[in-house]
C-alpha cells in the first residue's frame, strides 16, 4: 500500500534524525572526557594522596576562629566600599562608550567598531592582572582595587549596555526626532528611559559580582578583606581562613539580597 510506504519513509526519516543526534551526543561526550583526561582527572594516585591532605585541611578549618573579628570589620567595609566605588566608575565610563558601541544610535560606524574592540580588550584583561598593575602604579590599598574592578567591568558592562540599547524600540526615537529633539535629547529622553530597567539590572548584577571579586583582589594587595585572607593563608591559620570565608559569605548573601530588592524597586 502507498500509505504504509509513506509511513515507512517518515519513520526512516525519523531514524536518520535520531542517528544524527546520537552522533552529536557521542562527540560532545568524547570531548568532555578528553578534557578531563588532559587535565589529569583520571590520575587516581593524585586523588588517593590528595584526599587525606584535604581532610587534614578541613579538620584544621573547624572550628572557625573568629577571635580577630574586630580586625576584619574595617577591611570588610573597605571591600563593600570598593565594590560600590568600582561599580560607580564602571557605570560612568560604560554609558558613553555603550552609546558609541550601539550600532543603532552610534554617530559613526567606524567609531562603533573601534569602541566595540576597546570593550572586548578591556574584558579580556582579568581584573587580577589589572590589580597587580594598579598596585604597582598607585601603591597598596583600596584605590588600585577600585580601578582594577572598574576598568575590567567597563568591558563587560559597556557590552551589555550596548546590547540593551541596540534592542530599543526605534519608534519613540522617531517621535522624539520628529518633535525637534537634538540627537543627545533623543538619547536622554527616548533611549535611556526605555532601557533603564535593563541597565539597572546589569549594574546591580555587576555590583554583586564586584563584592566577590574585590575579596579576591585583596590577595594582590589591592585592599579589603582579601588582604586579611591572604595574611591568614600565609600564617597557615586555616581556622581563621574559614572564619574569614564565612564572613565573606555572609556579606555576599546580604549584598545579593539587597541587590534583588533594589532590582525589584527599579522595575
Amino acid at each position: 500500500m502507498s500509505q504504509s510506504q509513506t509511513y515507512a519513509t517518515i519513520l526512516a526519516e525519523e531514524r536518520r534524525g535520531g542517528f544524527r543526534r546520537a552522533a552529536l551526543a557521542a562527540t560532545i561526550l568524547l570531548v568532555c572526557i578528553a578534557a578531563l583526561w588532559i587535565t589529569g582527572f583520571f590520575d587516581g594516585r593524585r586523588f588517593a594522596d590528595g584526599l587525606p591532605a584535604l581532610g587534614q585541611l578541613a579538620t584544621e578549618m573547624v572550628p572557625p576562629d573568629f577571635g580577630r573579628w574586630q580586625h576584619w570589620l574595617r577591611p570588610l567595609l573597605d571591600t563593600l566600599a570598593m565594590s560600590i566605588a568600582g561599580t560607580v566608575l564602571a557605570v560612568i565610563i560604560s554609558l558613553p562608550l555603550a552609546i558609541l558601541a550601539a550600532p543603532n544610535i552610534s554617530p559613526n560606524g567606524l567609531l562603533c567598531q573601534v569602541t566595540r574592540t576597546l570593550l572586548a580588550f578591556l574584558r579580556s584583561v582579568p581584573e587580577i592582572i589589572l590589580g597587580v598593575i594598579f598596585v604597582a602604579a598607585v601603591g597598596f590599598g583600596a584605590l588600585p582595587g577600585v580601578l582594577a574592578l572598574a576598568l575590567h567591568s567597563v568591558g563587560m558592562v559597556g557590552k551589555f549596555y550596548a546590547e540593551a540599547i541596540e534592542h530599543v524600540d526605534p519608534k519613540p526615537l522617531e517621535a522624539a526626532r520628529a518633535a525637534g529633539a537634538t540627537p543627545l535629547q533623543v538619547i536622554t529622553h527616548s533611549v535611556l528611559p526605555q532601557v533603564f530597567p535593563q541597565l539597572a539590572d546589569i549594574t546591580l548584577y555587576r555590583w554583586e559580582y564586584h563584592f566577590r571579586a574585590s575579596a579576591v583582589l585583596g590577595i594582590v594587595g589591592a585592599g579589603g578583606i582579601g588582604f586579611e585572607l591572604m595574611a591568614a593563608l600565609r600564617l597557615i591559620a586555616y581556622d581563621q581562613v574559614s572564619a574569614i570565608l564565612l564572613s565573606i559569605l555572609a556579606c555576599v548573601v546580604v549584598v545579593d539580597a539587597l541587590g534583588a530588592r533594589l532590582r525589584k524597586a527599579l522595575k
Partner: protein, 268 residues
C-alpha cells in the same frame, strides 16, 4: 504654508517610494493623503518634517527650505507635530512624561536633563485635557487602551503648540468606532487652533468626511489632487487599482462605507 516641489525618494534598496511628487498645503487646511499601504503616504509625510530626505526636489515652509541646515530643520520640527500609526509612546513612562517629549525642542539639551519647568508641565496637562485624558496623566502609557494611547500621541503633538500636524495613519490601528472618534477629535482641535493638518488615511469614507482637500497616491505618485466631491469611483479605481488586491483593500470600499454613512445619518 508647506510646499513639496518635485520630490523623489529612492531608498537604499533602490525602491522608489515617491516619484516627482508636488503638493501644496494651505494654512489651516485639513488635507488627507489617501491611498493603499505602500503608496508612499508615509514617505511623503516624513519628507514634510525631514525624517526622510528627498533624493531630489525640495520641501519649503514659510521659513524657507526645511533642509537648509540642522537649526532650520529643528525649528521646523518644533512647529510641526507628528502623530504616528502605532502612537510611538514609551510604555513605561507616564502619559504626561510622554506628552512632555513635545516640549524637548524648547530647551537645550543640558536644561532638559533636569525636570522641565512648571510652565511646560502645565502645557502638557492642557494638551492631555484637550484629548480628555487629564485624569490619566500619571498613569503609565502601556496601561492605557489603544484609543487612549493614540490620544496621548495627539496630546504630545499638541504640546508643541504646533502650526502644522502630520498624522501618519493615525487611526489605522483602532477599531472603526474608536477610529471615528479619534479622527473627529483631531479634526476639531485642528479647526479650533487653525492648525494645518496633513493626515494619511486608507479609509475613503473618512477621507471624504474630513478632508478639505485630498491627495490620492498610488505606486509612489500623486494621481489625484482635488476636493472630496471630485473623488468619484473611477478615481478610486486609479488610486486603489482594480480588484487586483482582493481582501487587503476592498476596491471602492463599499462595505465599510455604508455603515459609517448610516451612523452619520443617525447622528444628524
Amino acid at each position: 504654508m508647506l510646499d513639496l516641489d518635485n520630490v523623489t525618494v529612492r531608498y537604499a534598496n533602490r525602491v522608489t517610494a515617491l516619484e516627482k511628487a508636488s503638493a501644496g498645503f494651505g494654512k489651516g487646511q485639513f488635507v488627507v493623503l489617501l491611498g493603499p499601504s505602500g503608496a508612499g503616504k508615509s514617505t511623503l509625510l516624513r519628507c514634510l518634517n525631514g525624517l526622510v530626505r528627498p533624493s531630489s526636489g525640495s520641501v519649503r515652509s514659510e521659513m524657507g527650505n526645511i533642509l537648509s541646515g540642522s537649526a532650520a530643520l529643528r525649528a521646523h520640527r518644533q512647529r510641526t507635530g507628528m502623530i504616528f500609526q502605532q502612537h510611538h509612546l514609551i510604555g513605561r513612562l507616564t502619559a504626561l512624561q510622554n506628552v512632555l517629549m513635545g516640549r524637548l525642542s524648547f530647551h537645550n539639551t543640558f536644561r532638559s536633563l533636569l525636570p522641565l519647568p512648571r510652565a511646560d508641565r502645565i502645557i502638557g496637562l492642557e494638551a492631555l485635557d484637550r484629548v480628555g485624558l487629564a485624569d490619566r496623566a500619571l498613569q503609565r502609557a502601556d496601561q492605557l487602551s489603544g484609543g487612549q494611547q493614540q490620544r496621548v500621541g495627539i496630546a504630545r503633538a499638541l504640546a508643541q503648540q504646533p502650526h502644522i500636524i502630520l498624522a501618519d495613519e493615525p487611526v489605522a490601528s483602532l477599531d472603526p468606532a474608536t477610529a471615528d472618534k479619534v479622527l473627529a477629535l483631531l479634526h476639531r482641535i485642528c479647526r479650533e487652533d487653525g492648525i494645518t493638518a496633513i493626515v494619511s488615511l486608507h479609509q475613503v469614507d473618512l477621507a471624504r468626511r474630513y478632508g478639505d482637500a485630498i491627495y490620492g497616491l498610488a505606486g509612489g505618485r500623486i494621481v489625484f489632487d482635488g476636493q472630496a466631491c471630485a473623488l468619484d469611483d473611477v478615481m478610486l479605481d486609479t488610486i486603489y487599482g482594480t480588484a487586483s488586491t482582493p481582501s487587503a483593500q476592498p476596491g471602492p470600499i463599499q462595505p465599510e462605507q455604508t455603515p459609517a454613512r448610516l451612523k452619520m445619518a443617525k447622528i444628524a
